[in-house]
């Protein structure tokens, strides 16, 4: 089943990626703004511009440009960044690990907080802890991630300066990394000072990204948990003499998590999208940060490469979500 599912999803991913690439390609070209003009120093001639247009393949029609781009993309070449004059694939792959580590860390935090809040809320159904959780949750849902980012900087960076407010790792530590996955690498090689420094840099952007997601998870999971708690099998577990806490965790949580998980899969994409602003605010060197610069500079090849990598992340995450359904619901396995 899961093998089939994997194959089917991979096949389905092809038209998705194709569609994304077409839409992005057309969009970035109809939006006003001339990348060539921005690259040249003031006073450049029209011939200079034409030469550069040819050099970047921007002289043909959109269809021609797309066919050329697609042909190269299929061979693994996504062109050269106009503003940074480097290979797009290298640029994206260089920055992607930072964003992935941040996004996964933030999602894990959101899930942990969401599950804890939802189960606690259900455990204290109708009593004051539930009221508090609902109130905090409503507030958290209403505030977007970049506001959290600014608020966190204000509190823990300025008023109470305990955390670094920019970058990914303190350069004074002078550590060298073999891969882009700094945190993973530091953990594996047991360099705990570095781990501490990485986490100190990551914690604020991660919290900013995690809070809205945690609120959504709490709300959905709490509702489905409450539904599961009135099922007959929960009644049986109560009559077996098990405590409410154990019943929530052992009997209800797995059955209740499917709606929350589906939503987390969808929301993860928004979270990755949220990195665009949040990374910029914290000068965190990920692809979100890079995306803003690319848009400002009208760096068409880089924008395309970045958006496609967002699309790939989306597909992979949702595939993982689909695969985990089978684990959560045995009926879907056979």
């Amino acid at each position: 089943m899961s093998g089939h599912l994997l194959l089917r999803r991979l096949v389905q991913a092809v038209p998705t990626l194709f569609g994304v690439s077409v839409v992005v390609f057309v969009l970035v070209r109809v939006v006003p703004g001339n990348p060539i003009a921005m690259m040249l120093p003031p006073g450049a001639t029209l011939e200079d511009m034409e030469r550069l247009r040819q050099a970047y393949g921007l002289d043909g029609s959109i269809v021609e440009q797309y066919v050329i781009w697609l042909g190269q993309a299929l061979q693994g070449s996504f062109g050269t960044s106009i503003s940074l004059r480097q290979d797009v694939l290298e640029l994206v792959l260089g920055r992607l690990p930072a964003t992935l580590e941040l996004a996964v860390f933030a999602t894990a935090m959101a899930i942990a907080v969401g599950v804890l809040a939802a189960t606690t809320g259900v455990l204290f159904r109708g009593r004051w802890p539930e009221t508090v959780i609902d109130a905090v949750n409503g507030f958290t849902l209403a505030v977007p991630d970049f506001i959290w980012a600014l608020a966190l900087i204000l509190v823990f960076g300025v008023l109470l300066p305990v955390l670094p407010i920019s970058g990914r790792v303190d350069p004074r530590l002078g550590t060298e990394f073999a891969t882009g996955f700094y945190l993973t690498e530091a953990l594996v090689s047991a360099r705990f000072t570095v781990v501490g420094d990485l986490l100190a840099h990551m914690i604020m952007p991660a919290i900013a990204l995690a809070l809205p997601l945690a609120a959504i998870i709490t709300r959905v999971l709490k509702n489905s948990l409450a539904e599961a708690m009135v099922q007959d099998y929960v009644m049986i577990a109560r009559v077996k003499g098990f405590s409410r806490w154990r019943i929530i965790w052992v009997e209800a949580l797995r059955n209740a998590s499917i709606p929350a998980l589906t939503l987390t899969g969808v929301q993860f994409t928004f979270l990755v999208g949220g990195t665009v602003l949040v990374e910029k605010i914290f000068s965190y060197p990920g692809i979100g940060n890079m995306a803003i610069d690319a848009v400002i500079n009208r760096d068409l090849p880089l924008i395309q490469g970045l958006i496609l990598s967002f699309a790939v992340i989306f597909i992979v995450v949702n595939l993982l979500v689909d695969l985990s359904y089978g684990w959560l619901n045995p009926r879907l396995r056979s």
Partner: protein, 520 residues
Amino acid sequence: MTGPLLQVRDLTLSLPDRSRGKLFAKPPMTDILRGISLDLPRGESLGIVGESGSGKTSLGRTLVRLYQPTSGQILFDGADITTLDEGAMRTHRKHMQMIFQDPQSSLNPRRRVGEIVAQPVLALGVERDRRAALKRADLALDRAGLGHAFARRYPHELSGGQRQRVGIARAIATEPRLIVADEIVSGLDVSTQAQILALLNDLKQDMGLSLIFISHDLSVVRVLADRVMVMLGGRVVEEGTSADVFQGPRHAYTRQLIDAVPLPVIEPGWLDTKPATEGTRMVDIKGQTVLVTGTSRGIGRVFVDALLAAGAARVYAATRDGSGSHSDARVVAVKLDVTNSADISTAAQTCADTTVLINNAGINFNSKLLETDQVDAAAAEITTNYLGTLNMCRAFAPVIEGNGGGAIVNMASILARVNLPLMGSLCASKAAVYSMTQGIRAELASKGIAVFAVLPGAVDTDMTKDFPPPKAAPADIVAEVLAGIQAGEADIYAGDMAKGVSGGLAADRPAVIAEMAGYV
């Protein structure tokens, strides 16, 4: 108009089984209804009973063309509605209405009761004017015993019984000729249920309605229905007037159903009584490991596919030389000559997980008994047909018992009960098989092994090429055999000819013997 209101011939319904689908391939089809025929006279009520999965609900929905049948024919009021599209069905819809099991979910919670009842009146063009339709709705609500004051209420303000009356009012508002009521009193308290049943009975009388009443509750069906149809596995196992079926059920499954109904009468020991099925219990093929002998051709080969379709976990397909392969991984080829005792004991070890044994292997020399050079043929027929089957039973009864019980199915022939001189020696061997089967049935009854004798009529295979037609298709015979096993019929008369001969033997034995004697 005269003639039955509803005539159904050989109706089948197959739906794709998505649970067994493979990637990119069409899912296999599952038969939901198999060869259903019925006549419903005007003003009569037909009860359809069966347990879950019997197909009774699918049948009801197919009859009013909510489902498109796969094959067969439905005549409603003389018109063939089998393949009409939704547009063409509209003219018939007002004459055939359905009442559903769950009034809660079949009533739109945002509509007032009057609008709900008027909705089909407008939609099916009985009335074009909204006010006239609402007027009809009021009338229908009065008839349904609610009173038109209810027209302004919402469904959630009503009790279960009242909601079901709304369902009835909606169904009768278009003045239909046929109503199909599916489990409409299950879930209601008995006092409410009694009221609804009385109401349906009155409506049937007053409006001259024909009624198809689908229910799992035999007592309810008995009270309401003129005729009863008992369903099992998508088939009709018994049909007749309610009085006949309930007083003298002919079919083992019907007996079992009736026997299981707890009447409000103190009856010590009732719980421990086994249904009166002559010691033979129903055997579900699903999940069983089945050994079939003689699968190289004819019925045996058809058995393998039919068993797979019925959900057998594994099928040991035995042939004399062990050859043959099958695309389905559940089929295991086995070398087994039933006249070879070494083969049999090997098979009993290699096929040690067998739970159902189908003794199908047999030979036929088409020989008369007294023709001079034919005694060898008679000996061979006895060796294979009788001794082969007996030895298989002897070897596998302990195996099946060790696996927690199961079934043994012996293929005899209708010719076991009357000799056809044209192939006199075969008949004698089949009579021996039939007699032996009765004997081991008695011996194995206490060991959890159901023993079936199959008495088919002539089947269209190589073996019977000299036999005069009509001959049944092997697939039909096999389907009847499996249905018989699942229904717990001890002696399975498969095919029209077998049933005819069996009936003839019961009615006028000498005449049948004389007729058979004619084929010399």
